[in-house]
């Protein structure tokens, strides 16, 4: 894979910035477009500001077949020929690029803000007019469908349930949705901007709460990036505890989602049982570290809490009970025809659309694509212990529910196996200074999908940039497509079947 136009690396490695090929914009475009056409996926694509006023574009392409990531870069000025018209996967990244650095990707068919914040550089004009940049979130042009009896429905940012804010604009004909456009940005807390100059004592806590239902996922991604930059080696025991934390997070969230999906089709037994059993998995994580969300567990160099024999036995007992109860609760879903009638063929995303948009995680696996970082780009414990990838082909709500159920079985087996045979040794190692002028990339399969962190250090080994791509960043457009042709009353069900993160997207 390493050639003149890109540098091939493995997940969790750091390379000197100088080794990353710097191409002309034309060469770089051609390289990215051709690679994606040949089956690569854009894991990350972002701008890095240069002292002279230009911006260096970095692309991290994921090659699932070879298990490598390829890095390439090109320098641009105020505008360049965007990738989106020839490579749909780039569309959200290029909107972000325009918003953050004021670089305009020419030819982008729908160039508007995604988070509604001021550009990161005061000098930048933005990829759009000053008036658009000053607008409040959601105050923007929406794609309109015109015609007799066509109407718009606007929902949010404050929703009916206890969930995060976002704005959904539906173009409807009667009950039927022609088009859904999703406007986010309400949760923007300025995380990436704050991470520059770090790591500081706040860094880890910001990543832990970047998407607070994925604390273990983002923590591990951060720590693996930092450990790559510092050249740190982890004791095996720490890798195992991290893996257990990641899979417990998946168990809790998948269980909660299955319950919520049951609730959305008014099948209340499973909704009630799963609501409780989700808490049992959270309590297992609290048994590890005291926090139901795994806060404070993962640290650069390892983990902060060890697991002794008594604790392991307790956790295994509780895990067994929770899994037994869950089996009873969730089996009801597949045995109940009224649930099947609502899940099947609702909110389907085709495999082709999934590939074109570059969806990740369980949403992609529900379209039959075996995309799973643990399998394709394994790091940590997953280099030694493989969790089989679970897929389903129908791309609908049923598939997204059923893949969750299959993954629950796999994750529970993994946790059971790992806790039963913990390697001896310490749970932490020293992490030294970060290498200067390096770039590190780390991927973790969070419960929603691929988490990608890219850290670039300056001459002093501080973060010159820290780029986060939450799986939701890739997948929100998948939800929009899932709604096409559906009844608007199925929106809650479709939305829950993806259960994407607002704050993970908004950063």
């Amino acid at each position: 894979m390493t050639d003149a136009v890109s540098l091939a690396v493995h997940n969790g490695s750091a390379v000197p910035l100088s080794e990353i090929p710097q191409l002309s914009v034309a060469e770089w475009r051609a390289h990215v477009i051709a690679s994606v056409a040949a089956g690569a996926r854009i894991a990350s694509y972002f701008g890095h500001p240069l002292a002279g006023g230009g911006v260096r574009l970095f692309a991290v392409l994921a090659h699932g077949d070879s298990g490598t990531l390829s890095l390439s870069a090109a320098e641009v000025g105020a505008n360049f020929q965007g990738l989106t018209p020839e490579c749909e996967q780039a569309h959200w990244f290029e909107r972000e690029l325009a918003e953050q650095w004021g670089v305009k990707p020419e030819g982008h068919p729908w160039l508007k803000p995604i988070r509604f914040h001021a550009p990161y550089r005061r000098s930048a004009q933005g990829g759009w007019s000053a008036a658009a940049a000053a607008a409040e979130p959601g105050v923007t042009d929406f794609f309109r469908v015109a015609g007799e009896e066509v109407h718009q429905v606007a929902v949010g940012p404050v929703h009916a349930g206890i969930i995060e804010p976002g704005h959904f604009r539906f173009q409807c004909h009667g009950e039927r949705v022609f088009h859904l456009e999703i406007a986010l940005g309400y949760q923007h807390r300025g995380i990436e901007r704050a991470l520059v100059g770090g790591p500081t004592k706040r860094t880890l806590h910001q990543l832990e709460t970047l998407a607070g239902d994925t604390s273990a996922g983002h923590d591990i991604a951060y720590c693996e990036a930092v450990e790559a930059l510092a050249g740190a080696r982890l004791p095996a025991r720490a890798e195992v505890v991290r893996g257990v934390a990641l899979e417990l997070e998946r168990l809790a969230n998948h269980t909660g989602d299955l319950g919520a999906l049951a609730g959305d089709v008014a099948y209340l037994p499973t909704a009630a049982y799963c609501g409780r059993i989700r808490g049992e998995f959270l309590n297992l994580t609290a048994g590890l570290c005291g926090s139901r969300f795994g806060r404070g567990l993962v640290r650069p160099g390892g983990v902060r809490f060890d697991v002794d024999c008594d604790r392991t036995a307790d956790l295994l007992t509780l895990l067994g009970r929770a899994c037994d109860d869950l089996n009873v609760a969730v089996s009801l879903l597949w045995d109940t025809p009224s649930v099947g009638a609502r899940f099947e063929r609702t909110g389907a995303v085709s495999r082709a659309d999934c590939e074109r948009l570059g969806l990740v995680g369980l949403a992609a696996r529900a379209c039959g694509l075996g995309r799973d970082v643990r399998h394709e780009f394994p790091s940590g414990i997953f280099r030694f212990v493989q969790i089989p990838t679970c897929t389903w082909n129908s791309g609908d709500v049923f598939a997204r529910a059923y893949v969750r159920w299959l993954e629950i079985g796999r994750s529970a087996a993994f946790v059971r196996e790992q806790l039963s045979a913990l390697p001896d040794g310490a749970v932490g190692a020293e992490v030294g200074a970060l290498a200067p002028n390096h770039l590190a990339v780390s991927l973790v399969e969070g419960w929603r999908g691929e988490i990608c962190h890219v850290a670039i250090t300056d001459a002093h080994g501080r973060f010159a940039q820290y780029k986060v791509v939450d799986p939701s960043f890739h997948n929100w457009m998948g939800l929009a497509l899932a709604l096409r042709g559906e009844e608007i009353s199925d929106f809650p069900l479709c939305n829950k079947s993806f259960n994407l993160s607002y704050c993970g997207h908004d950063l």
Binding site: V158, Q187, A194, G212, Y273, G290
Partner: protein, 261 residues
């Protein structure tokens, strides 16, 4: 149908005996901090330096910790060379004013109930509208869990409703991002008076790990008057429930809590 009935029997009765009995919390639970002032010599500022949210201050009287900023991460306890700080199992952390959250390590009072008139209005039926304004979905999740059969919030007459028009107050999570400020203000305006505001979590109380970012407002009370603060990152569901019940005068009046557990 028979399968559903079988499942119902197997799942059993799961509602906790709280508040009749105190909850059982994990042994590593990190609640109210305790300081051993005899060990702390008050000269090394290592806990102050270690705190990610600058929650700790130190003066001639010893150390003080602002629980409104505290993430309960225990970095301070790790940093203290004398081992003077530890985190206890005390989960009852809600207070009525911001000032009350600044803890000097001595007695910890519990939140007072609303006045008699407010208790008459809300004591038997409190409807809340939840607004996430930059919350990370941690606080949201542990508020939502109160609706499960384990906590069964409805048995206390408390319910989360879909519209602010149907609500008696707001429960706010998140540091209040600039991008959510107007939506939050409009939601508050839509709640009929008299109304309550409850801030849940370090972000909603002080901005949490996002304090002083120009993208956030440093918490709910920068925008609205707050009646109850519930610290934590996120607070345990029992901490939230205890706070709500105390506000309504539904738990035993503030007694001296059991210390040093």
């Amino acid at each position: 149908m028979l399968k559903a009935l079988r499942a119902r029997v197997l799942q059993g009765h799961r509602t906790t005996t709280f508040p009749r009995q105190e909850p059982s919390l994990p042994d590593r639970f990190r609640g109210l901090p305790a300081f051993d002032q005899t060990k702390c010599r008050g000269v090394c500022p290592q806990c102050v330096d270690a705190c990610p949210t600058d929650a700790i201050s130190m003066d001639a009287h010893g150390i003080r910790i602002d629980l409104g900023r505290c993430l309960f991460c225990t970095e301070c306890a790790d940093a203290c060379p004398e081992g003077a700080i530890r985190y206890t199992a005390e989960y009852r952390l809600a207070r009525r004013t911001r000032q009350d959250l600044i803890f000097a390590g001595r007695t910890w009072e519990l939140a007072e109930a609303l006045d008699a008139e407010s208790r008459r209005l809300f004591g038997r039926s409190l409807k809340l509208r939840q607004v996430s304004a930059g919350g990370c979905n941690g606080c949201e999740a542990d508020v939502n869990v109160l609706n499960t059969v384990v906590f069964d919030l409805g048995r206390f007459g408390i319910q989360f409703v879909a519209s602010p028009r149907h609500a008696d107050g707001l429960l706010i999570t998140g540091p209040v991002t600039r991008n959510m400020r107007r939506a939050l203000e409009k939601t508050y305006e839509a709640v009929p008076a008299p109304k309550l505001v409850i801030a849940v979590g370090a972000c909603a109380i002080s901005g949490g790990p996002y304090r002083d970012h120009e993208e956030v407002c440093n918490g709910a009370d920068a925008v609205l008057p707050v009646d109850l603060y519930i610290p934590g990152c996120p607070p345990h569901p029992f901490t939230i429930l205890d706070g709500l019940l105390r506000l309504l005068g539904k738990r035993e009046p503030a007694q001296s809590p059991e210390r040093n557990r």
